[in-house]
């Protein structure tokens, strides 16, 4: 039984950690907000005047901004599509009893443990290189011109690389969900005359839907900030065809040393991420209520 007294004592006791946590969150955020209203470039010392929304208007009207925004969404959407569909298929496959199941599962999950920079380098130099890469070798073997992936399909190449990394994550979550599906119910359905497609669409997919929502939610959070893969492979190019918002903010703040513009970009990215999050939360909330 807590009295009025002990409750207020408890509040006082936990306040240091609450304050610490709040500070942890609020100080960087408010500094970013503060910088985003200053004309502040590291290369130009002197006073940093308050300029209102100038940084925002320059960031939002940057010719690269619109393409960065679409690239971000295409990147997230493309990777989600590949990982969810691929993840379901892999989960179905791995759920089958087979010889060497343990090893196969470990192999499928392995790419998730490769660091993003490393996997990007491997893909860039060993697979996609038009002179010495594996794909070029295969193309030459089949008598075709090698395709220069990173120059002619940069965003697609990055989607492939990122999807390769995240596919194991989706597979892992969906496989666990698949294993919780009661096989007796599937057998019963089969005996009632449901074909494999009917069983998949009316029993497996509804059963997986919650896990799919979780996969989409978690991946979206991470995919909105994909950076290393772009920096290592295409540097956002050619042109701005593989620049996403994160990379644009990086270019503003670390290549141009424009702290004000970079902060404004960061705030814009936070707002966009929140918009996406609101939609996702609604979707998830609906799904979890049902």
């Amino acid at each position: 039984m807590s009295t009025q007294h002990s409750r207020s004592a408890a509040r006082i006791m936990i306040s240091p950690s609450i304050i610490l946590l709040l500070g942890w969150m609020i100080i960087p955020l408010s500094l970013t907000l503060y910088f985003s209203f200053l004309r502040y470039n590291l290369l130009m010392p002197g006073d940093n005047p308050f300029v209102g929304f100038e940084n925002y208007s320059y960031f939002l009207t940057d010719p690269a901004f619109f393409s960065a925004l679409t690239n971000t969404l295409v990147l997230v959407g493309g990777v989600l599509l590949i990982t969810v569909i691929g993840g379901v298929l892999f989960a179905l496959l791995l759920d089958q009893p087979m010889w060497g199941q343990g090893i196969v599962r470990i192999l499928v999950i392995a790419p998730f443990f490769v660091m993003p920079t490393v996997s990007a380098l491997v893909w860039k130099n060993m697979f996609m290189n038009p002179v010495s890469g594996l794909f070029a070798f295969l193309a030459k073997g089949l008598g075709m011109e090698p395709f220069d992936f990173l120059a002619h399909a940069p965003l697609f190449s990055i989607i492939i690389i990122v999807a390769w990394q995240w596919l194991p994550f989706a597979t892992l979550i969906l496989l666990t969900a698949m294993q919780s599906l009661d096989s007796e119910r599937l057998e019963a359905a089969e005996m009632d005359g449901a074909g494999p497609f009917a069983r998949f669409f009316y029993m497996v997919v509804p059963h997986l839907s919650r896990s799919i929502t979780v996969v989409i939610l978690i991946q979206t959070i991470f995919l909105l900030s994909v950076f290393a893969e772009i920096l290592v492979t295409t540097n956002g190019g050619p042109g701005t065809s593989s620049t996403n918002l994160t990379y644009l903010v990086y270019a503003q703040s670390l290549l141009n040393f424009d702290v004000g513009g970079g902060s404004a970009g960061g705030v814009v990215a936070i707002i966009l991420a929140n918009i996406v999050a609101i939609f996702l939360m609604r979707m998830i909330g609906k799904n979890l209520d049902a």
């Binding site: 590291l42 690269a64 038009p130 002179v131 220069d148 990173l150 002619h152 050619p238 065809s241 290549l255």
Partner: protein, 438 residues
């Protein structure tokens, strides 16, 4: 009493000893770029520490772009992480003007500042103060395969024109044999493709800005430059060239896939080195091409050592800079590694040395450096200094953004006209924002 006095004296002596030790133990932190000549310098540090007891040296070796980010943020925020910084001719005039570097006008007489090549020294001097000491200097020139030229029935003049380069590239290209007439930079970046393209544009009479700082990409000269560049690369260049920078082209040339390569003069020692290059004995050199307008398409660059203002170890840092860029250092490298490996392009005395004159690329390097003029880089007058860059803080951002457009044009994603229009638009935007255009 006596015991106390003794203890006191002992303690004092200990303190004194401690001060002496700490005074002797100065540790210099030096940020440098991971180029071959700098790596060699690290190997020779023992010579410096032997001559300067009490100074220890700690190296931070980084790739060029990372180095630039680190040293710029450090010097701009007065972080004080580094006591000596390796910076280029782009940074020195800007930083010197802002008071971020210590003047090196008081280096010892043995340093012999008058021995520095005038073009290089000019690029590192602001209002009569030398703000960094050049470690090696470079220009660009044509490196070509003599055997392929002979096979094509052509002869490379010492001072070719762009028209001849195109003719030679066409004659040498053998795509089935994986030999491409010409390899040029295509990777986006102000220090990558824009270094080459700005220098090429100079010889076509193009300039970045007119005297009122208006970008000039809508002019005829830039159009001609970019059209010819794309024409050369699309017809006679290697595949995937939009991601080729210096190192990619170097390995293409060393493996015999390029007929010609126009790039930094420091590459000469790599392509003529038989252990790394399969074509070492066939390499010839010529000046960067021109268009008959009185300017050549070559650039000017020097990696230099500067000391950030506010360092606690100014004296030691100066000693190090004077050592690393001295004549004795050149002699030391020559003795240990041979004359071709000496850091080139900084001192007149090096090029007067009969031993060094035997090096095949020495004369062409000197001539190329002397052909560059950072104050009058192109045909028309300009408000900026710098040959293949514009020495204003905004240039890194603008140069890279423009480089992205041109790289996209090279990858075939847009036409030359669209790339130039986009470049004009974004350069105008940034220059307006920075207050150059009223």
């Amino acid at each position: 009493m006596t015991i106390r006095l003794g203890a006191l004296m002992g303690a004092t002596a200990l303190c004194a000893a401690a001060t002496v030790v700490s005074a002797q133990d100065t540790t210099l932190t030096i940020a440098t770029v991971n180029n071959g000549d700098m790596i060699r310098m690290q190997g020779l540090t023992d010579d410096f520490t032997a001559k300067n007891p009490g100074i220890a040296v700690e190296w931070v070796t980084l790739e060029e772009n990372v180095l630039r980010q680190r040293v710029t943020t450090d010097v701009a925020t007065k972080g004080g992480q580094y006591d000596v910084m390796t910076i280029g001719t782009y940074e020195v005039p800007i930083w010197g003007k802002q008071g971020w570097l210590i003047s090196l006008n008081d280096l010892p007489a043995e340093y012999d500042v008058d021995d520095l090549l005038p073009a290089i020294r000019g690029g590192l001097t602001v209002d009569g103060e030398l703000y960094a000491s050049p470690f090696y200097g470079e220009s660009s020139m044509v490196m070509y395969r003599k055997d392929l030229m002979e096979k094509a029935g052509l002869e490379m003049p010492d001072a070719p024109t762009w028209d001849f380069i195109k003719e030679a590239a066409a004659a040498m290209t053998d795509k089935d044999g994986e030999i491409y007439g010409i390899c040029l930079r295509g990777k986006a970046g102000w220090g990558e493709n824009m270094a080459f393209l700005s220098a090429m544009a100079n010889s076509y009479g193009a300039r970045w800005f007119d005297e009122d700082w208006n970008p000039q990409f809508d002019g005829e000269a830039w159009n001609a430059t970019l059209t010819d560049y794309l024409d050369l690369m699309h017809n006679y260049g290697p595949p995937g060239s939009s991601s080729n920078g210096f190192n990619e082209n170097l390995s293409l040339f060393q493996t015999g896939k390029c007929g010609m390569w126009i790039d930094a003069t420091v590459a000469a020692s790599f392509v003529t080195n038989p252990t790394d290059s399969t074509v070492a004995e066939h390499v010839g050199f010529a000046l960067a091409p021109d268009k008959g307008l009185g300017k050549r398409g070559n650039w000017l660059w020097a990696w230099s050592l500067g000391i950030p203002a506010g360092t606690q170890k100014e004296e030691a840092a100066k000693k190090f800079v004077a050592w690393a860029t001295s004549k004795e250092y050149l002699a030391l490298v020559a003795e240990k590694e041979g004359w071709p490996n000496v850091p080139p392009g900084t001192r007149t005395s090096l090029y007067e040395n009969p031993e060094y004159q035997k090096v095949p690329f020495a004369a062409m390097t000197l001539e190329s450096i002397n052909a560059a003029d950072p104050n009058n880089p192109t045909v028309d007058p300009v408000p900026y200094t710098g040959v293949q860059f514009v020495a204003i803080p905004e240039f890194q951002g603008i140069g890279t953004a423009v480089g992205q457009q041109f790289s996209a044009a090279l990858a075939g994603q847009m036409s030359a006209e669209d790339a130039l229009a986009a470049a004009q638009k974004l350069a105008t935007r940034e220059m307006t924002r920075a207050g150059y255009i009223k």
